[in-house]
Structure formats: structure tokens, C-alpha cells
């Protein structure tokens, strides 16, 4: 029987669907009766969803364009002198 610490150590691969079938059975057996790990697993799953879908630190087009222009000005300058 695996412990809560074992479950937490394996939760990353479990969330990504990258555990072997026999390990998955053990993890699911543990989480089926451990409320704490159920909560951690469920909230970790939602954390990934919230993070992936958050659109965090997006660079708006209005900000990206002037930076790209500056870079290209330097690139063309270097291209001419090389």
C-alpha cells in the first residue's frame, strides 16, 4: 500500500497520464480512500487547467510590433555591415 508521500511524489506523472498501468492502479487505490490526496489531486488538476488557460503574460500585438521593429532595424544594420 502506498503512502500519501508516495502519492504526492508520483502525482506529476499521474496528472500527465505517464504512469505505468500497475502504478496507476496503486495510486487510484490510495486516492479512493484518502480524502487529503483526493483534494490535492483534484485541486492540482484544476491548477494546471487554470494556468494553461489563463493567457498569462501574453505579449499584446501593440507591444510586440515596436519591439520587432527595433530588432529588425538592428538586424538590417548588422546585415549591411557583415
Amino acid at each position: 500500500m502506498i503512502s500519501c508521500a508516495d502519492f504526492i511524489a508520483a502525482i506529476g506523472d499521474y496528472l500527465d497520464g505517464e504512469v505505468a498501468a500497475e502504478v496507476r492502479v496503486q495510486l487510484e487505490a490510495h486516492v479512493s480512500h484518502c480524502t487529503t490526496c483526493q483534494v490535492v489531486y483534484d485541486s492540482a488538476r484544476k491548477t494546471i487547467r487554470v494556468l494553461t488557460d489563463s493567457g498569462s503574460f501574453d505579449l499584446p500585438e501593440t507591444a510586440a510590433k515596436p519591439i520587432a521593429d527595433k530588432i529588425m532595424a538592428r538586424v538590417r544594420e548588422q546585415g549591411r555591415t557583415s
Binding site: S54, S56, D58, V75
Partner: protein, 533 residues
């Protein structure tokens, strides 16, 4: 042809299956190995070689096909029936590659390694220089729907007989099979709705730069009640269309499967499951995406002319090498990897500085996020972005394609950010591995989260909460979360970019996710802002 196309698509599953088939048909293994290594030096008759060249070009770079390619085949005495069969085989190979990747199929026999040769990689013809693109390349059928049941089916369910099917008049058996496949895959609403499937067809076709199918499915979505403005948003940037997060995730995953199959994996399926999609729905999305790649390849090969005035046309290959099923193989010891940026990189390396702008436009967001991840400061990240791209430009001559250009660029961004971090705080480093190995992370916040945390806050509030929480994490965890969960880099790509081993990368990724969970729990737990379980 199927074996060569599987190799060109970097698809080990299909390569193994067709290698085995050819063995069973009595072909010697040495000859098959030569076909895989370099079919151009395999003693094939000239006409067969021309057909393979055409099939590979169609399979990996469909939009570049032009009237000249068909004329070239005719000059080699290839009859129209043979060219049509070749188009069908290339389309079928696109379907199989996409489907086997999407369902994660393991080879049915001992896997046949695809040699990391360059023969398929530098196929970026200068399509913009081709003079005669206009199709159709084959005579279209004049048959009336009353005379041919599949045409009657198209008229009943789509209101017209699409030119892409009329162009296959020499193979009525195939048209009938395609009509039946369309009925089963698109029209039967087992799991996903018709509109969800049409959205996949539209956005994948747009990514494949297939103006024909964008026109057809824009029209059909309109007939299903989607406004022209919403259709345009789907085509231009579905992330800005008014879709739920689950719907955006569905399209993200479909596009990744179509465009970056080498990066597609269990994490994508997990992502869809986390949005509430059942395995049956996910399978339908995979089949729909594969069928779209089939249809797109078919149209490129037939040159079928649009049935409607296209709502959007795509310039011939210039900024982006169109990539139905990007022939990407994973990095191997000393091999090259194929890369959607290869053409632009090659142009810059040949001295065309302007082509570098394409690379900036494609990757500026990723570079920016990498730098924010390390520096934790958006202003500094914008400045460091310029340094990163200028370093990349200066060193592009040294880039030999052993990793994808994007991975190479992110590693430059990462090194640039780390150097700035060290200059700023000499004691702060991303290199400290001790904590990863020695300390077990113990969750402290054991409060159940609201069933639907996204409903508790507006989109802008959610973004702000996540950004604030990420900023509070140590840089070494934040950067891994940015690359893996926001940028969706594979474990191998993120590890390469950060110069970390895979165990260290995975350890930091897990720690970062758990730390972020701790930070977000007060906002999303049951009872926060009235959330309910």
C-alpha cells in the same frame, strides 16, 4: 509510397506497418532500408521516382503543389489515373499518420527506426516562384446528383456537390467511400456536436493554409447559425473568438496534432480530460483532425477550385512552410530534426535578413514568456527579448538544425535571462538542484476547490491571479511552469532549453505546480467568493 510518406512524416507507427507489409510482399529488407534512408538513390524507374517526389511534396508541403508538378508527371508518361491514385495515397498517409499519433498507437511490429537523414527535410520549394497554381488538375465530373448516389448525398446534406469530390470522377468507388466516411465522421453526432467538428475542420484547414476548405466550412458554419464575424475570428485566431475554455482547449489540441505531431502526447489528452471531455469525445476530435488532414491533402493534390468565394486566401508558402503533418522526428543522437521554421532559417542563413522578421513574429511571445519566467519582471523581459533575438541572429550561422529552431531560441532566451538574474542578484540561481532532491514537498492547503473555478472570476481577474501567484514563485519553478504548462513544450524540449536533465526538470515541474496550487487555493477553495462544491 506509403513507406516513404511515413518516413517523410516522421511517423514510426506507419513506417513500421508499411515496412512489414512490403516484407510480406517479398521486398528485400536491404532495399527497404535504402528507401527509408534515401529513396532517390534506390534504383527506382524514373517515373516511379517522379511519383514519389510528387507524393512527398504533396504530403509535407501541399500548398506548394502546382500545375507544373502535374505537367512534370505527365511528361514522365504517368497517366491521370496514376496521378489521381498518388494523390489519394498521399492523403491516406496524412490520415494514418495523424490518427496513429492522436491515439498514441504503438507499432504492431518491432519498430522500424526512421533514419535521421536530410532527404525529406529541406523540401521547401520556392513555391512563390511557381507560375501556374490554378487547378483543377483533373477533369471534373458533370454527373448530376440524380445519377450518382454519393452526389445526391452531398447535395442533401451540404446543399451542393463540392468540387473536391467532382474532381475524382475517375474513381467513383472512392467518392462513395469518402461520402460514407463524411457521414460517419462529421454528420453522426455521437459525442461531439456538428458545430464542434466543423470548428475543428475550419481551424485545422486554416492552419494548413487550405483556402478551399476554409471557404467550404465557413459557409457551412454560417448555415449552422454561426455569424460571419465569428467565423472570421475562428479562422484568424480562434483564441480571440467567443469560445469557452474547453472549446479553445479542444482546438488547441486538434491543431497541435495536425501541426506539431512530434510534441503531441498524453499530456494533451489529460488536458482535454481536465476540461471534462470524455475519451470518446477526444477520440472523435482525433478522427476529425485526421480526416481534415486527409481532405486538405486531397484538395492540394487535385487543385479543386473553390465552390464559394473564399473568405480568406492564403499566400503561397513564404512566411510559414505549410505543414499538414509536420515531418518532425524527435531529436536523436547526431541527427537533424525537421522544423516548421527550417525554410525561414535557411533564408536568413543565405543572407536574406528580412526573413528574420518571420521568426520574430512567430516566436516573440514564447521568448517573452521565457524571459518573464526567469526575470519575474515584464519591463526587463521586453528589453531582454531584443538581446535574445539579436544574439540568435548573430549566431544563426552556427545553428545546424540538431534541435528545433524554437528550442534553440528558447535556450538563448533562457541563458540571456539567467545572466541578467546573476548580474542582478549574484546569489540567485536556477542551478541549485539540492532542494529538488532532498526535500519532499508537503501540501499545506487541504481545502477542496470549487467545482468550476473559472466561474468565480472574470477572465482578466483569473489572468491577474495566476500572474501574481506565478511571480511569487522562485524563478526556477516559475520558468518550468511557463515552458511546460503555458508554452506546452515537451519534457525533452523544456529540459534542452533550460540545460537540465529530465529528472530535474520533472521534479521542478511538480514542485512548481504544487506551489502554485498552494498559492491559488485561497482564491478557488469552496467558499472563496461564494464558490460551491
Amino acid at each position: 509510397m506509403l513507406l516513404t510518406l511515413a518516413a517523410a512524416n516522421g511517423n514510426t507507427y506507419s513506417a513500421t506497418a508499411h515496412y512489414q507489409m512490403l516484407c510480406l510482399l517479398g521486398e528485400p529488407e536491404e532495399w527497404l532500408d535504402q528507401l527509408l534512408r534515401d529513396y532517390r538513390h534506390s534504383d527506382l524507374p524514373r517515373a516511379d521516382m517522379a511519383l514519389l517526389d510528387f507524393a512527398v511534396k504533396l504530403g509535407v508541403n501541399g500548398p506548394a503543389i502546382s500545375h507544373e508538378d502535374i505537367a512534370g508527371l505527365t511528361a514522365q508518361c504517368c497517366a491521370s489515373e496514376i496521378v489521381l491514385d498518388t494523390v489519394l495515397i498521399a492523403a491516406w498517409a496524412s490520415f494514418l499518420s495523424c490518427l496513429s499519433t492522436g491515439v498514441g498507437a504503438s507499432p504492431d511490429f518491432a519498430p522500424v527506426p526512421i533514419p535521421p537523414g536530410a532527404v525529406f527535410i529541406t523540401k521547401a520549394p520556392h513555391a512563390e516562384e511557381s507560375a501556374h497554381h490554378a487547378g483543377p488538375y483533373f477533369a471534373a465530373s458533370e454527373t448530376e446528383p440524380e445519377q450518382f448516389a454519393p452526389f445526391a448525398f452531398f447535395r442533401e446534406y451540404f446543399g451542393f456537390v463540392p468540387n473536391v469530390f467532382r474532381a475524382q470522377s475517375r474513381r467513383p468507388d472512392v467518392i462513395a467511400a469518402e461520402a460514407e466516411a463524411l457521414r460517419l465522421v462529421l454528420l453522426v453526432e455521437d459525442r461531439l456536436t456538428r458545430i464542434q467538428k466543423e470548428r475543428i475542420l475550419l481551424t485545422v484547414s486554416a492552419a494548413n493554409r487550405n483556402g478551399y476548405f476554409v471557404a467550404v466550412h465557413s459557409e457551412i458554419l454560417g448555415a449552422l447559425g454561426v455569424s460571419p464575424a465569428d467565423v472570421d475570428k475562428l479562422v484568424a485566431d480562434y483564441r480571440r473568438a467567443d469560445l469557452t475554455k474547453a472549446e479553445v482547449a479542444l482546438l488547441d489540441v486538434a491543431l497541435k496534432l495536425a501541426e506539431e505531431p512530434s510534441g503531441f502526447g498524453p499530456q494533451d489528452v489529460t488536458r482535454l480530460r481536465s476540461h471534462g471531455f470524455s475519451d470518446e469525445e477526444i477520440l472523435e476530435a482525433v478522427v476529425m483532425t485526421s480526416f481534415t488532414s486527409f481532405l486538405n491533402t486531397l484538395q492540394f493534390g487535385l487543385g479543386a477550385i473553390p465552390d464559394f468565394v473564399p473568405r480568406r486566401t492564403f499566400p503561397r508558402i513564404s512566411a510559414k512552410v505549410a505543414n499538414l503533418l509536420a515531418p518532425k522526428v524527435r531529436p536523436t543522437g547526431d541527427g537533424l530534426v525537421t522544423d516548421a521554421d527550417a525554410e525561414a532559417v535557411a533564408r536568413v542563413q543565405r543572407g536574406n535578413c528580412d526573413a528574420f522578421e518571420d521568426l520574430i513574429n512567430r516566436h516573440s511571445r514564447r521568448v517573452y514568456r521565457t524571459l518573464v519566467g526567469i526575470l519575474g519582471n515584464q519591463e526587463e523581459a521586453r528589453d531582454a527579448m531584443q538581446d535574445t533575438f539579436l544574439k540568435a541572429f548573430r549566431h544563426l550561422g552556427d545553428f545546424q538544425g540538431r534541435s528545433k529552431f524554437s528550442t534553440w531560441l528558447v535556450s538563448i532566451a533562457s541563458n540571456t535571462g539567467l545572466q541578467l538574474l546573476r548580474d542582478r542578484k549574484p546569489l540567485q540561481s536556477l542551478d541549485d538542484d539540492a532542494i529538488d532532491a532532498d526535500e519532499t514537498f508537503r501540501p499545506r492547503q487541504i481545502r477542496a476547490w470549487s467545482e468550476d473555478p473559472e466561474q468565480l472570476y472574470s477572465k482578466a481577474e483569473m489572468c491577474g491571479l495566476v500572474e501574481d501567484s506565478l511571480m511569487k514563485l522562485p524563478a526556477k519553478y516559475r520558468i518550468v511552469l511557463m515552458l511546460r504548462d503555458i508554452e506546452q513544450l515537451s519534457i525533452e524540449e523544456a529540459a534542452t532549453a533550460l540545460g537540465l536533465g529530465i529528472p530535474a526538470l520533472k521534479s521542478r515541474h511538480l514542485r512548481g505546480r504544487l506551489m502554485l496550487r498552494e498559492a491559488l487555493t485561497p482564491h478557488f477553495a469552496v467558499g472563496a467568493k461564494g464558490g460551491t462544491a
